[in-house]
């Protein structure tokens, strides 16, 4: 037994664990910096969030230790079972959830509260990995692709029903994992084209866009005129994609904006684009009334002020005038990056970005060295989830993306978030320790 423990200790990936500990430490420090005042008697104050976060870190390490002692086959064996339980909990949450700012995504048991949607990412990853590693799964068939997509999307839909849009969007990152496992290249093209189309239909006036699309279609038709003349398929593809683009931009986007999205979401999207909300989407507009100040613009402006005022070298630890004095809303959770940007400047924020990207690329590297498909898929899931959170969160603080309420992994204050990311990492490390074995 002793020899096996020792062996396990030597097989775990130190780089990932080191990066993980560094990020969590930076996070606790950042929360400390926004909450500490020089008038505080002691730095060990249990009612402060940074101390709570520290305690959560302790729990995470304890939990991680337990995970490391668990047999790696456990995760693959129970993947579906736990996934089913998770789905059930998500369904319960829709009805029994605690109402927090209009969304019912929190589940309360006594004084303890957690967000099932946050934790469900782990089990969805495991379920997806399990399904793709099943010997009977052939990912080349359409049926299996649809099942895999269903596994990934089911929690997202349930979370959408809980009105926690940001968290639901995270589940779209599983498509990147499926792409690695064999979705056609076209999925990337279609994905990027769709993003481009949405942006275009928001930025360009609708009639102009129609003309542009038509011209584009004729141009492409002229460029591929030889294949068009010879075969049927290109004609169909071109016609269908043109019709789809037109319908999408002329009907679907306005429909979504008018009937699906809520007021604050429209505000956020348009404030990121730097445009006024058009009158047709403005739901609360009363004729003759002046426009109200876009509230999400305030958040992003304060966040940009904090980060932008940091400069190259930053203002120094505990000298962040904006973050220390609570100018940035949600600065210890979703906008924690402001604290880094303000106090440590470009050097600090670039360092943090590098830290994240090294962790993510390290996980991709780990994924590629696995013998078992289960571990590989799971690793990719972890990498993609981390990447999505990291990219979207930082982009929203610097105004590259609309404000979506998702956390910065390991840094944001919050027990659910820290715990679930820690479990993701520790399961990864545990599975990787057995990379020579075949886990199904």
């Amino acid at each position: 037994m002793t020899s096996l423990r020792k062996a396990l200790f030597y097989r775990i990936d130190g780089v990932v664990l080191l990066l993980y500990v560094m990020l969590v430490t930076v996070g606790i420090m950042a929360v400390f910096s926004v909450e500490h005042h020089t008038t505080d008697v002691s730095i060990f104050m249990m009612n402060k969030n940074y101390m709570k976060q520290f305690v959560w870190f302790g729990y995470s390490l304890l939990f991680g230790f337990v995970i490391l002692l668990t047999d790696s086959k456990f995760f693959s064996s129970f993947a579906f079972l736990i996934y089913t339980i998770a789905i059930a909990v998500l369904v319960i949450t829709i009805f029994a959830g605690v109402d927090v700012k209009g969304s019912r995504s929190w589940l309360g048991i006594g004084s303890f509260r957690f967000q099932p949607g946050e934790v469900a990412k782990i089990f969805t990853s495991m379920a997806l990995a399990k399904y793709l590693s099943l010997p009977e799964t052939n990912f080349k068939t359409l049926k299996d692709k649809l099942i895999a997509a269903a596994i990934a999307m089911a929690p997202a839909i349930l979370i959408l029903l809980q009105k926690e849009t940001g968290l639901a969007l995270v589940y779209f990152c599983f498509f990147l994992v499926m792409y690695r496992e064999g979705l056609p290249n076209a999925i990337l093209v279609i994905g990027f084209s769709l993003i481009g189309l949405v942006l275009a239909s928001l930025l360009i006036e609708r009639k102009t866009l129609f003309v542009v699309l038509t011209v584009l279609a004729i141009l492409i038709g002229w460029l591929i005129r030889i294949p068009l003349r010879r075969r049927m398929a290109p004609r169909i593809i071109l016609t269908v994609s043109f019709l789809f683009a037109v319908l999408f931009s002329q009907v679907a986007v306005p429909f979504v904006f008018k009937h699906v999205l809520q007021r604050h979401q429209i505000d956020r999207i348009y404030s990121t684009l730097g445009k006024e909300v058009p009158d047709e989407y403005d739901k609360t507009m009363v004729v003759g009334e002046d426009k109200k100040i876009n509230s999400s613009e305030y958040n992003v402006l304060q966040s940009k002020i904090a980060i932008g005022s940091g400069g190259f070298w930053g203002k120094g630890f505990l000298n962040g005038t904006s973050t220390k004095n609570q100018f940035v809303p949600e600065q210890h959770t979703d906008f924690i990056f402001c604290a880094i940007g303000e106090q440590f400047g470009f050097i600090g924020s670039a360092g943090l970005v590098l830290l994240y990207i090294s962790l993510i690329l390290r996980i991709v590297f780990i994924a590629e060295r696995q013998r078992s498909v289960f571990t590989r898929v799971y690793s990719y899931c972890v990498a993609c989830i981390l990447f999505f959170h990291f990219a979207v969160n930082i982009s929203m603080t610097i105004g590259l993306m609309p404000v979506i309420g998702i956390t910065l992994p390991f840094l944001s204050y919050g027990g659910s978030s820290l715990m679930s990311f820690s479990i993701l990492i520790f399961i990864l490390v545990r599975l990787d320790a057995d990379r020579q074995a075949l886990i199904r």
């Binding site: 002020i305 670039a350 994240y356």
Partner: protein
């Protein structure tokens, strides 16, 4: 699929790295090339707190505090921190207000400000309120007494000398004197507070604090390295004797007039009263405007400093100077006599004299002791018509120069503001009055201190200093030292000794001897002080006023000037009582009592009866109220006329502007049409 490198891992890695690069690029530009965020961050998060140091104190010559600072409390409220179960009844009882007032104030507070900010609930709580609030303070969370410094006058004396402070007005801020001030600052508005503002105010400190999003100040910004420390105002030590001042104010109660007492050896002012006085404590705190208006409306005009601003005909008190000039130019000798028979008839209109007996003006000493009008009218004429001068104009000019050297007819340069210079007529004045057709007879009244000659009580007292010192004086001033430094640059001009035209000591001795006789055997016998040689001169100045279109001869002004002791002068004094009667009756005893009080520290029991008479006398003229209302009506009419002229000018200017604009607009139209 698990064997061999999968190319898609690179696609995914490239997507990761690409997105990270975009973020890095955006961060790079945001943090290095958009300085506006730095400015915004400082604007929102840094709070500049200005700290006012306590103003300097003012002490008298014995170190008694006349003016200092005291702490009062404003009750501040932070609505958010008020507990839901606040016992309103108890709170109202503690502050002695009713529930309605409480609700009104709270409503106003909430309308004005967000509920996390402190707003004033009651400004300047009374002592009683503060004490009772602090007893139960722990019960009323959300309310907090905040201390504030205001000026405190230890005794209700010397208000007009010390002056008062007030908030600077927007008009004042435009003047260069107030260039370092900002709206909301306090500055001295009159008296010593105005004159020594620069040293009294000290240097305000600026502290940079960080503030949070509720605008509440937090930690010092950058650990306070940008802060500047406040410097307290310097203290002023005066020559003023608080006991003498208080005594003088008591003596002057219910009289209109003024007293100036100067130490001849230093020029330091020992006491200065302008009666009626007022309690300076009225002119501080939040009732200042109300009280000021009330004082301003009083017909007796307590805010008018009669000691430096009121100009009186000096009457007989000018006679020592008339004699001094006559003796010095050589027009007469000390033994010159004039045969007065009760009136002076050398000029067309006879001038009455109090004395008829022969020989009362047999020489200079006797003439001054008996205050013979004929004698002094005559020697004044002899002076201006003196053979050394080519004409009466030159003679008058020479006399005018002497008087200017005595600091008559010009500002003495005393260190309180708004002084008046009096009037000493010269040939230009008479040329315009009499169309070049005048001679020494026309202006003869000036020799006995009537006519066009006007002096302030301060100038009269300063004149006494010159005679006491035999020909020199220091500019009269209040301040002995600034911040314990007697050589402060502001006091430099008060250390210059002014010597008056090299008049020989012997001439002064003659005048002093004559003034000693005034007390010992002349008109001012009541001013005698046991054991002290007092030199003095009484005066009774005629004056007129126009009431309802008629010229009324008013009761005479009672004047008195003196110094003592003659051998080693320690106090020179001038008393002017408006419309009180003979100088010997009222002004002389007051001056004498004050000199005794100063020189002997107490008034002898023998003079108790006289003291009581002076303390209790009420000499306010019945015409004061009528004259005051007439003057105010005239001022109001003048002001109205001035306003109307201004409005007229404004409307003309507006019309011109409009015409100009029309012209410009039409020319633009023409251009467009072309």
């Amino acid at each position: 699929m698990s064997t061999g490198a999968n190319p898609r891992q690179y696609v995914i890695s490239i997507i990761f790295i690409g997105v990270a690069s975009v973020i890095l690029l955006r961060l790079f530009f945001l943090q290095n090339f958009e300085p506006k965020y730095k400015i915004l961050a400082n604007d929102i998060a840094i709070y500049k707190k200005v700290v006012y140091p306590p103003r300097g104190a003012v002490l008298d010559r014995k170190g008694k505090v006349l003016l200092s600072n005291t702490v009062i409390y404003d009750l501040m409220v932070t609505p958010r921190n008020i507990p839901k179960n606040l016992d309103t009844a108890q709170f109202c009882a503690a502050l002695d207000i009713d529930k309605k007032t409480f609700i009104n104030i709270m409503r106003r507070v909430q309308e004005r400000n967000i509920d996390v900010r402190q707003s004033p609930f009651i400004e300047q709580m009374s002592q009683e309120q503060a004490a009772r609030f602090q007893e139960n303070g722990y019960l009323f969370t959300g309310f907090e007494p905040v201390e504030r410094n205001i000026r405190a006058y230890e005794k209700p004396i010397a208000g007009i000398l010390l002056g008062y402070i007030g908030e600077v007005s927007p008009e004042m801020l435009k003047r260069p004197r107030y260039s370092s001030y900002r709206q909301g600052d306090y500055a001295g508005l009159s008296g010593l507070e105005w004159q020594y503002e620069e040293v009294l105010r000290g240097q305000r400190g600026v502290h940079y604090l960080e503030r949070d999003k509720f605008n509440r100040p937090r930690d010092p910004y950058k650990g306070g390295i940008l802060d500047s420390q406040e410097v307290s105002g310097k203290q002023l030590e005066l020559y003023l004797d608080a006991d003498l001042q208080e005594y003088a104010e008591k003596l002057m109660a219910n009289k209109i007039g003024s007293v100036v007492a100067i130490d001849p050896q230093t020029g330091g002012i020992l006491a200065m009263v302008s009666s009626p006085t007022y309690d300076p404590n009225l002119l501080r705190g939040h009732d200042r405007a109300k009280n000021y208006a009330a004082l301003y409306r009083k017909p007796t005009r307590p805010l008018f400093n009669r000691a430096t601003q009121a100009m009186y005909p000096p009457g007989s008190t000018i006679k020592p100077f008339t004699g001094l000039v006559a003796l010095n130019v050589g027009a007469i000798g000390p033994n010159y006599g004039y045969g007065c028979r009760g009136s002076y008839g050398a000029c067309s209109r006879a001038i009455a004299c109090e004395h008829k007996d022969a020989g009362h003006a047999a020489n200079f000493r006797l003439a001054l002791a008996h205050s013979c009008n004929s004698y002094f009218c005559h020697i004044f004429r002899m002076t201006v018509d003196f053979k050394n001068f080519n004409s009466v104009k030159e003679g008058l000019q020479s006399w005018h120069d002497y008087y200017n050297n005595f600091s008559f007819g010009k500002l003495t340069g005393i260190d309180i503001p708004f002084e008046k210079g009096g009037a000493v007529p010269d040939s230009n004045k008479y040329n315009s009055m009499y169309h070049f057709n005048w001679n020494s007879c026309t202006i003869v009244f000036v020799g006995m201190g009537q006519g066009e000659l006007l002096l302030t009580p301060l100038q009269m007292a300063n004149g006494m200093c010159i005679i006491a010192n035999k020909g020199w004086y220091y500019t009269p001033h209040f301040v002995k030292s600034i911040g314990k430094n007697p050589n402060d640059s502001l006091l430099k001009k008060f250390h210059d000794k002014h010597v008056v035209l090299n008049i020989p000591d012997s001439t002064f001795s003659v005048v002093q001897q004559a003034m000693q006789d005034v007390v010992e055997s002349g008109t001012a016998a009541g001013a005698k002080i046991e054991g002290i040689t007092v030199c003095a001169k009484t005066g009774t100045a005629e004056n007129k006023a126009i009431v309802n279109g008629e010229v009324i001869k008013m009761q005479n002004h009672s004047m008195f000037v003196a110094f003592a002791p003659r051998e080693n002068p320690k106090i020179a004094i001038a008393v002017a009582l408006e419309n009180a009667g003979f100088g010997a009756t009222w002004a002389a005893p007051i001056a004498s009592l004050m000199m005794e009080k100063y020189l002997k520290d107490s008034v002898s029991v023998k003079r108790k009866a006289m003291e009581d008479k002076m303390l209790n006398a009420n000499l306010i003229n019945k015409y004061v109220f009528t004259i005051d209302s007439v003057l105010r009506l005239r001022d109001a009419a003048k002001y109205q006329a001035r306003q109307e002229r201004k409005w007229e000018a404004d409307s003309i200017k507006r019309a011109e502007d409009l015409a100009m604009y029309r012209y410009w607009f039409e020319s633009q139209l023409k251009k467009i049409k072309k």
